[in-house]
């Protein structure tokens, strides 16, 4: 009877990532029109590079948010900072230690993710509180380790993070590989199915025999590992770890998930949308800059976009 209608409504959640890209395109076009094309390749390159950082942490946050209401990882900025600080200090500018340094960064992520999950499990507290209190610890650890020093990354690593291959920044290639891998995990692996099931209905997932606790643990670890990788790359890219380097990524990581069209109610995730959201966030900034509008207008616009998107998304659900 109402099959076509119902199914098209159910397809709607798949579309929002498309709009994030459309909006990015329009924003780019607007900037392009104003600058009459000058510097547009630099703009694309910068957008791709900076969007990479938001996209990687955004993917991690997306995994967590997919588990449903109340699941948010607030420790992403602190984990980024800690991983960046520790690995750069360890490498101390030595090219030979690039890979061990990466190992250190990823290990930080693994440990942080496990710690987050154990807090949730053992103290039986909501993920928000657990990741919040843990982030205080990570932040402090990073401050203590860093001691205000700014250690330069190994030259080769700095070159890699700022270089590009066939016009595409190396970092973007890394970011895209991660996105493809995440997409594959979500769409094709059993973990992706389980994650979506937990997010849609945790109780039903448990009653279907899904190892809910294992899925939760893996998700928080995954989010922290992606955050630590971003910390490592960002610190290398910007010539050293800074203690506040992660700060803005807390809100951005949640924002790109929402703009990208993932359902905050859980169970529904999409990787392309994260990239769309990340690109949009950067392009809006540069567009407003080139129109001579400051950070204030940009922030207000970002906030308005986020609220408009959730309000619209809930309206769609209401009509279904």
């Amino acid at each position: 009877m109402a099959n076509p209608v119902t199914s098209s409504i159910l397809q709607l959640p798949k579309r929002p990532w498309f709009w994030a890209f459309v909006a990015s395109g329009i924003t780019f076009g607007a900037t392009y029109a104003l600058t009459e094309g000058s510097g547009s390749s630099e703009l694309i390159s910068a957008a791709l590079t900076f969007a990479t950082f938001s996209a990687i942490v955004g993917i991690g946050q997306m995994f967590v948010i997919t588990m449903g209401p109340g699941n948010v990882d607030l420790s992403i900025p602190a984990t980024m900072t800690l991983a960046g600080t520790l690995s750069l200090k360890f490498m101390d500018g030595s090219t030979a230690l690039i890979l061990p340094g990466l190992g250190i960064a990823l290990f930080v992520g693994l440990a942080a993710g496990m710690f987050n999950y154990l807090l949730i499990r053992l103290l039986r507290i909501p993920p928000i509180i657990a990741t919040l209190s843990a982030s205080f610890l990570y932040q402090s650890l990073a401050i203590w380790w860093n001691r205000g020093l700014r250690i330069k990354p190994p030259e080769a690593l700095a070159d890699f993070t700022t270089g590009s291959l066939a016009g595409i920044p190396n970092l973007t290639i890394v970011g895209l590989l991660i996105a493809v891998a995440s997409w594959f995990i979500l769409q094709r692996s059993i973990f992706g199915r389980w994650l979506s099931a937990v997010g849609q209905n945790t109780r039903a997932a448990r009653l279907s025999g899904i190892p809910v606790e294992a899925v939760k643990a893996a998700t928080f670890i995954g989010s922290a590992v992606l955050a630590s990788l971003t910390g490592y790359l960002l610190a290398s890219f910007s010539g050293g770890a800074a203690l506040n380097m992660g700060t803005e990524y807390l809100l951005i990581s949640i924002a790109v998930v929402v703009i990208g069209g993932c359902s905050i109610a859980g169970g529904n995730s999409n990787v392309p949308g994260i990239w769309g959201g990340a690109l949009l966030m950067f392009l809006v900034v540069s567009m407003l800059n080139s129109y001579g509008l400051g950070a204030g207008v940009r922030l207000i616009l970002t906030g308005t976009i986020i609220i408009a998107i959730v309000a619209a998304a809930s309206g769609r659900k209401g009509s279904a």
């Binding site: 607030l74 509180i129 982030s135 650890l141 809100l251 924002a255 929402v258 207000i300 959730v310 809930s314």
Partner: protein, 313 residues
């Protein structure tokens, strides 16, 4: 009986921390010392109270830090120069909070995302007002914040006043009770014929009101403002509510506890400096205290339920 002693744990944590500080640095046990210890706690306590209003109705506010920053910017500019316009702006911002609560309830939106969006908006407005640090505190706020009452320093007096006032408002008054009932059992409130959307808007408006107070106090203490002045308050206020015995769902909050939680968090920093430990660990100590208190609370809760089981046979 367990619920009644919810307040004990925060009081205990503060007392232990305070005793440790006094032990390490007996000079802190003076009028001047106490004022120094707790000075910056007043705006944090107010922001924590604001966060508590939202948590009370089972939501969370990720925008309180940027909102307080925004208020600080308004206070340091408009309230200082054109008080009437400044007051109107602050009043309007409280209305925005109420509208946000109504919107969240009416459309059943996730509060975490809406307040996240609002945090960008407040931050943007603050940057527009004060692109670089500046402005000046209105004289009367400065006077109020630096007044030296006899015997007890202003910071302590202010905290006691805040705790007392919000306790009466939330825990004792008929309206406050109804607001807590929304968090405890929304269905019962609906069934008795109350308008939950009005109640939620009210709770959010109260949060806005205390956010405004927090921003004004902050400017009174710092004498100038900038757009990032209170960003840390978002996380601190959540931590303060939880530390003060509040819970995320079910309307279980305690205003006195929240103020004590805020005091504990701001004392943690001073404690470290008296320990001659690097201030690097200040944030870490706040996190550690939070985890510790939550762990102790879990043990209490377990024993409590065992005790209850034993009682009920």
């Amino acid at each position: 009986m367990i619920g009644k002693y919810r307040i004990l744990l925060p009081v205990l944590s503060l007392a232990v921390l305070l005793a440790a500080v006094f032990y390490l640095q007996p000079r802190a046990m003076s009028y001047f010392g106490l004022n120094l210890l707790f000075n910056l706690a007043v705006p944090i306590a107010l922001a924590t109270i604001a966060q508590m209003m939202i948590i009370m109705v089972n939501d969370i506010d990720l925008s309180i830090g940027t909102f307080v920053s925004f208020v600080a910017c308004v206070t340091a500019t408009f309230v200082n120069e054109t008080p009437l316009l400044g007051a109107a702006i602050l009043l309007a911002s409280i209305m925005v909070y109420a509208a946000m609560g109504a919107l969240i309830h009416a459309r059943q939106l996730p509060a975490i995302v809406v307040t996240l969006g609002m945090s960008f908006v407040w931050a943007g407005l603050a940057v527009l007002l004060l692109p670089s640090p500046g402005g000046a505190s209105p004289g009367w706020i400065r006077t109020l914040m630096t007044v030296k009452p006899p015997f007890v320093p202003m910071a302590v007096v202010a905290c006691v006043l805040i705790a007392g006032f919000t306790h009466i408002l939330i825990m004792r008054s008929a309206t406050g009770t109804l607001l807590r009932a929304v968090g405890g059992n929304t269905q019962a409130v609906v069934r008795a014929g109350w308008s939950v959307i009005k109640l939620k808007a009210g709770a959010y408006a109260l949060a806005g009101f205390f956010g405004v107070l927090s921003g004004m106090c902050l400017v009174g203490l710092t004498t100038s403002a900038d757009a990032n002045i209170a960003l840390r308050y978002t996380l601190l206020s959540i931590a303060g509510v939880i530390l003060g015995g509040g819970e995320f769902v079910g309307g279980k909050v305690s205003p006195v506890g929240a103020v004590i939680g805020a005091l504990t968090l701001s004392l943690a920093g001073s404690f470290l400096s008296f320990m001659r430990l690097s201030p690097d660990w200040q944030i870490g100590a706040q996190g550690a205290i939070l985890i510790l208190v939550l762990a102790v609370r879990l043990i209490f809760a377990r024993n409590g339920s065992r005790w209850k089981e034993a009682k009920n046979g």
